[in-house]
């Protein structure tokens, strides 16, 4: 049995977590995609899995649907132990994959109808579910068109509507806005915010900082197959970057020298293109070079922890 569409208070975390991953390892030949992953997603929250490309986010998503089987560790989804009970878990979750796997030979309505059948939604309920999904995705007037004729943004909205057709308790969104225009990204964000309002548990992977900052109640930063930091965006910023940071510009040689000095003096820094950013600038005691002070962001945390630049 599951919670219906009535809104739950945010982070109403009584009972079983929606997702519990413990010590998960997944290798592809010599590549270790997921390397001792620990992750717990409470039910009712929008959880952001933030990490650079290749951090193991998609493999984690595939492990949650039983499409990749962990080599070690344990995974349970909505209280069902994977991989044995994966089908039970999949009946209660919806998945929007990163790689477009929309059935482009079908019309919009047919895509939704076939997915309703795959989720065993029958009869009158199926018709109602298809209409609801059409309204949700704003594709009502394109219902009879082949999915291949839709724009990229419309296809993504259809993929999300398709993921919701079985009225899931848990929704997995793998890089939901990758490759989309800014305006279209806004549309997808409102769809995700609406899910959050309805009390669905959402696990969203992304490498866009802003997306995690705007949508996620809770963020885990992944790097090299494991979680390197976790908390609310505010907690992460406070802990890993402080209240204020300092951007100092200079030539690459100067920046490299400053970085060495900072390291020796015990100041945490991170590279940001043509500048060096001193983290925890509010706590530093006068020894910092001249530069521009600003509030710390999740981006500072992300780059400091993963060593990756962001777009």
């Amino acid at each position: 049995m599951h919670a219906s569409a009535t809104p739950l208070p945010r982070a109403a975390t009584s009972g079983v977590p929606a997702i519990r991953i413990s010590g998960a390892v997944k290798r592809f030949g010599s590549l270790v995609a997921v390397d001792g992953l620990e992750l717990e997603v409470p039910s009712g929250v929008c959880f952001g899995l933030l990490g650079p490309n290749g951090a193991g986010k998609s493999t984690t998503m595939r492990m949650l649907t039983g499409q990749a089987i962990a080599d070690a560790g344990s995974i349970s989804v909505l209280g069902h132990v994977l991989p044995r009970q994966s089908k039970l878990a999949r009946a209660r979750m919806g998945v929007c994959p990163q790689e477009g796997n929309l059935d482009i030979d079908l019309t919009v309505r047919q895509v939704l109808d076939v997915f309703a059948r795959l989720y065993r939604v029958t009869g009158e309920r199926r018709r109602a579910a298809v209409e609801t999904a059409l309204a949700l995705s704003g594709l009502g007037d394109r219902a009879g068109d082949l999915a291949m004729t839709l724009s990229g943004g419309m296809q993504r909205r259809l993929l999300i509507a398709r993921a919701l057709i079985g009225d899931p308790e848990l929704v997995l969104l793998d890089e939901p806005t990758v490759g989309l225009d800014p305006q279209v990204r806004q549309q997808i964000w409102s769809l995700i915010l609406a899910l959050r309002e309805r009390g669905k548990t959402v696990l969203m992977s992304t490498h866009y900082i802003e997306e995690a900052e705007r949508l996620a109640d809770h963020v885990a930063i992944m790097s090299a197959g494991r979680v390197v930091a976790e908390g609310t965006p505010a907690e992460l910023i406070r802990e890993h970057a402080g209240r204020e940071v300092l951007d100092v510009e200079g030539s690459p040689g100067e920046l490299a020298r400053m970085r060495e000095l900072a390291l020796a003096a015990g100041h945490a820094t991170r590279a940001s293109g043509p500048a060096l950013t001193y983290l925890h600038a509010d706590r530093a005691d006068g020894a910092l070079p001249a530069g521009r002070r600003r509030s710390a962001t999740l981006e500072d945390v992300f780059v400091a922890l993963t060593g990756e630049y962001v777009e």
């Binding site: 990749a68 089908k87 059935d103 109808d113 997915f115 059948r117 795959l118 065993r120």
Partner: protein, 263 residues
């Protein structure tokens, strides 16, 4: 509370198989004219070419007019081609390029159910198209018999096996090009050593023995017996051989397709 469908892990559920089947049927509704055109014209041309061309050289085989001999044989080859090619090309396309199977596996549907749904769909479609040559042969003078009503069932059973074999082949390759090996190395021999165009009695003994392991041969025999007189004892063996082949190909296709789809 919403009434949620009950799913049972570890079992092949008819509702899941039906959903996979309906997806193919829905796509087919967009393409039925081209598929049907090909499925009808090809065997008809083959039949006319062999029947009238070759028929000038060979008038009768085992007392049967050559056109009627070939007409019954071509039922089997059109089932073979319809099922095995769709099994290979559709499965590879859906797995690798369109990623339909990946999308399905994120829903409460398992690899067993996908393969079963696909194979049953192709079995019914290719099996029913396979009857066309028989109808053409009837139009050219083959007398209809009541036993011919069994031909659709035989054709569907054969097509299920060959569709599963096609899916099995597709699971070994990553590109359409690689399927050429299968076509040249496996399908062409199957098609020639089945008694379709000439009776097996003209072949060397070792090839006749090998033909017993060719599912297509059993299909050819059954269709001919439906047209020219049943041999109950032998026919039960032929049906058994086709059923065994279908069962084996289906299990192997599931096993290999799972290895391809689940990391």
């Amino acid at each position: 509370m919403t009434a949620r469908a009950i799913v049972s892990p570890g079992r092949i559920e008819p509702s899941a198989v039906a959903a996979v089947w309906v997806r193919s049927w829905t796509v087919f509704k967009h393409f039925w004219h081209t598929r049907t055109f090909g499925a009808i014209v090809e065997p008809v041309v083959m039949l006319l070419a062999f029947g009238f061309g070759f028929g000038k050289l060979v008038s009768h085989i085992d007392g049967i007019p050559y056109l009627q001999f070939v007409g019954t044989g071509v039922v089997a080859t059109s089932v073979l081609f319809g099922a095995v090619f769709s099994g290979m090309f559709d499965a590879l396309y859906k797995r690798r390029y369109q990623r339909v199977y990946d999308a399905m596996l994120a829903t409460p549907v398992d690899v067993e159910e996908i393969v079963t749904g696909e194979v049953l769909w192709l079995g019914v479609r290719s099996g029913l198209y396979g009857i066309v040559p028989l109808l053409v042969a009837c139009a050219f003078g083959l007398p209809p018999t009541p036993a011919m009503l069994l031909v659709p069932a035989i054709a569907v059973l054969t097509a299920i096996g060959f569709a599963a074999l096609g899916m099995l082949f597709a699971s070994f390759v990553s590109t359409f090009d690689n399927l050429s090996y299968v076509i040249g190395g496996v399908i062409t021999p199957l098609y020639l050593v089945a008694g379709t165009f000439f009776p097996l009695t003209r072949l060397p003994l070792w090839l006749r023995a090998a033909a017993q392991f060719n599912p297509l041969y059993h299909c050819v025999e059954l269709v001919r017996h439906c047209a020219f007189g049943l041999h109950p004892a032998a026919d039960i063996v032929h049906v058994g051989a086709l059923a065994l082949f279908a069962l084996l190909a289906w299990r192997l296709a599931i096993w290999r397709t799972r290895a391809r789809l689940i990391d």
